[in-house]
Subunit: 159 residues, 2 copies
Amino acid sequence: MYRIGELAQRYEVKTDTLRFYDKHGLLIPSSRSESGYRIYTEADAERLRFILRAKAIGFSLTDIAELLSIELDKSNWACADVKGVVDIKLADVEAKIAELNYFKASLQRLSDACCGGPESAEHCSILEALESNSSAVKCENQTHDHDQSHYGKNCQNRP
Amino acid sequence: MYRIGELAQRYEVKTDTLRFYDKHGLLIPSSRSESGYRIYTEADAERLRFILRAKAIGFSLTDIAELLSIELDKSNWACADVKGVVDIKLADVEAKIAELNYFKASLQRLSDACCGGPESAEHCSILEALESNSSAVKCENQTHDHDQSHYGKNCQNRP
DNA sequence: TATAACCTTAGAGTTGAATCTAAGGTCAAG
DNA sequence: CTTGACCTTAGATTCAACTCTAAGGTTATA
């Protein structure tokens, strides 16, 4: 039997968060004290661990609510249902990774083309790439010239 | 010279979005008509292209505002400033990718351990993993047994 | 019995990037 | 001269997942 503060401390969440989970039906404490304090049982704590674990794996609270409703009524669901939730999330995460890898490549191309030195940005290849219509990034040694050796191995696309 | 609707259509954004960019200082139209209509010039359109390109690369509107303020006053900034913005974003994107890869691995482990069949979820290894305290995912063939050949090459962690 | 540390509630605020609503003004075509 | 497509504004709403505030009630300890 825990009060909200104890449970919060034990699982390193804010009491606000537990109240939020209560209000949204994810974790409604098994009972209340006479004065209205939330009383959490060990089973409630288990449910919280389930929530936190699922959250750590990347599920949204909506996903978790779905998982919990299956969990509470397992025998009326099939493995396929559960795996479905996981696989949708997996596809989701994979799509996000692909998108971010695309961003990363774009940023890397920009970064590599720029000397990063104290020179004026008037001929900065990053700004020029953002101004131009093409997706090509021109290297800076073609526009302002300086001793690039100071600034590391930039501009991967030089001849 | 474009009115808001024309510019919006040309670049496939909503007029709302352009008004939002106006209000937030990202793209203030060069002039207004007598009746107060926003009038965008070709230079404004160019600036919009800059914004959209930067957005596609994954910059937030705040990042873009910074990039634009450098762009407008290039000669008073160094390449290092510009590259700084890009490199911070790059680190950011890399961190997000790493986190998502971690999520992906967790989800993959869960998915692989579950048969995904029409069997009752009572012994579903996904739910069991979420219930248990360990991060290990036990394979289902140890709990409910069925002809797994129907459901593909699941449960990578079997003996 | 007073003080501090707890607990309660309803409701507002946060972030980012729009998107929507209401109430109204402008303009070209028929 | 009216219809409909456009434009204006301020301000509200959306999404997720909290986080915070104000105003007050409870409980353990000195």
